[in-house]
């Protein structure tokens, strides 16, 4: 399979009070053409920052990529100038943001916002562009698409807004769609529609998708492979079947355990104790160790290396040191 995106040892740093805070600690993963990758992890683990890093959308913040490579179609995005990135954004890599309320310009009509990338990247003119926009809106399940074009974001419900965002992202047939929690704000029926739509688009147009979500149901439904992020590091990567069947990392196990399942008569859900550590104050060793039920003494001393297993699986955990894992250096 052909690789579309290869992220190597990505490190992203924010500056606060003149103090550098590393958010991503060397993230590695790749996306093949036409593949749907799920990026999961707890809130604050760095999922959104990973996606912003790929797009290099740090203007106006203190964030910057300090090391690592982002190979997209065999070109390193990390070294691209702002001008070059601009040609890629929206056209080759599109993004759906997590915050549907604030990510749309409140004073521009939906239509105007939607037409922007269409005109820019597809070069369509007035009427054609409009038709295209309306068809995309219909595709993402917006009722009264024509009318909505001339409405303002605040007139729409949260779900509708997110659908607008999705429409905007897929309007230029990107090669890679980064979807940061695209369906979180949607109800199940629309979620089903959207997921279905994303699947179709992905299959028809050989679009790759980086799906950031914490809804493991969505992951199971959609993804081919899953990357689990914890405190700015990939702790596990596996085929979706393997992951749900036999999660390796204790964190992954915890995540899968906390999902409420339909028909499950439990008074209390399982949950991972504690929460994601503060990135400005990370301790040595495995970042998950303080919350890990299986923590060993080595875990708080030394960071576990990435261990590779068969079937493209990898996991960073000392539990598997003795197993068949080959330590990649």
């Amino acid at each position: 399979m052909e690789k579309l995106l290869q992220v190597d040892n990505l490190e992203t740093v924010f500056t606060k009070d003149k103090q550098k805070i590393k958010i991503l600690h060397g993230v590695n993963f790749h996306i093949n053409k036409g593949e749907v990758i799920g990026l999961v992890g707890e809130s604050g683990s760095g999922k959104s920052i990973t996606s912003l890093s790929i797009m290099k959308l740090f203007k106006g913040t203190s964030g910057e990529i300090t090391s690592g490579r982002i190979q997209f179609n065999n070109e390193d995005l990390a070294n691209k100038s702002e001008d070059e990135m601009r040609k890629i954004r929206g056209k080759q890599i599109a993004m759906i943001f997590q915050e549907p309320m604030t990510s749309l310009n409140p004073v521009m009509k939906i239509g105007e916002q939607l037409l922007e990338p269409i005109r820019l990247h597809l070069g369509l003119k007035e009427k054609k562009a409009r038709e295209h926009a309306v068809s995309i809106l219909k595709k993402v399940g917006i009722p009264r698409a024509e009318e909505i074009m001339s409405e303002f974001p605040h007139q729409l419900s949260g779900g509708m807004r997110q659908r607008i965002m999705i429409a905007m992202a897929i309007s230029c047939h990107p090669q890679l769609l980064i979807a940061d929690e695209p369906t979180t704000a949607l109800d199940v029926t629309i979620q089903a529609q959207i997921l279905d739509l994303m699947k179709q688009l992905q299959q028809k147009e050989k679009m790759s998708v980086l799906l950031i979500t914490h809804d493991l149901g969505v992951v199971a439904e959609m993804c081919d492979r899953v990357v689990v992020l914890y405190a700015g590091k990939v702790v596990e990567e596996a085929d979706v079947f393997d992951l749900f069947e036999s999660p390796k990392h204790p964190y992954t196990k915890g995540l899968i355990g906390s999902v409420p399942k339909l028909g499950q008569k439990k008074d209390k859900l399982d949950s991972i104790k504690g929460n994601v550590p503060d990135p400005s104050n990370l301790q040595k060793g495995c970042k998950f160790a303080p919350r890990c039920n299986d923590a060993m003494s080595i875990c708080i001393k030394e960071e576990p290396p990435e261990m590779n297993f068969e079937n493209g699986r990898s996991c960073s955990c000392w539990l598997y040191k003795e197993e068949r894992g080959r330590i990649r250096v």
Binding site: S48, G158, A185, V188, A192, A220, P260, Q264
Partner: protein
Amino acid sequence: MSNTLLKVTGLKKSFSIPDGMFGKKKTLKAVHDVSFMIPEGKTFSLVGESGCGKSTTGRLISRLIAPSQGEIWIDGEEISQRKESQLKIMRKKVQMIFQDPYASLNPRMKVRDIVAEPLAIHTNLSKAQRYKRVSEILEVVGLSEYHANRYSHEFSGGQRQRIGIARALIMKPKLIIADEPVSALDVSIQAQILNLLKDLQSEFNLTYLFISHDLSVVEHISDHIGVMYLGTIVESGPKEILFSNPQHPYTKALLSSIPIPDPRLRRERIILQGDLPSPVNPPTGCRFHTRCPVAMDICKVTEPSVKKGGTADHFVACHLVE
């Protein structure tokens, strides 16, 4: 049987929306005849499609907006037409958790002041006492003391929602209107929060109006569920009954859309055909008939009345149900 904390009857809300720059106004019936009740200490969940009026119902009950019609009884008091000045006591009893965690937090206030605000409004605790309570409650929702001194934009989405929950919990209110409180949370925290909400409920005898579109979450937390479609509740009942024996075609469709966290169980979804009709021009007859897979002729003409759906507490508005 415990007493009823919240009772809503015949709630209606229409917005007038301008039609273009110079056109006449149009009426948008966001909530159209909603009735339900929640016994004290129980959880009632509203589920339904985006734009069907869930949040509006929540905003009506918390009296952020005034209903066009209907009654709202909270803790034995009717508040639907009260003036703002007469609502303060009610506001102490009722707290909200908002759908959009970021926008509902004042970007210029530190988290500790955001969370302490209800205390500042309703109590005369000293600043130190308030901050102490804040530290406690932050830990309860899974944040730490060191977060208190920051601004909301420095948090990730999930952390922000926890701030919102902490703010709602700090007053130990009687009724919490939770508008999609966990949809922005990742599963582990979602589980924590759901557990927490349940714990708090049993500890303080809290009552929840829980708004969500995540049926698995809803199933976990609720006692009763109301399924909303285009401003009305089309089916409501105890969760066991609703999940095991859904009567309304819309409920059925909803249930079939839930993604199941097991890749082996991928299935063909029943994806509803057609768009959600506009609440400005709702369909005649049964509001669902335009998308209903089993619609009959009568559905287009007559609005179905609410009928008992077999068991007690189970109500359905569908012509198919006898």
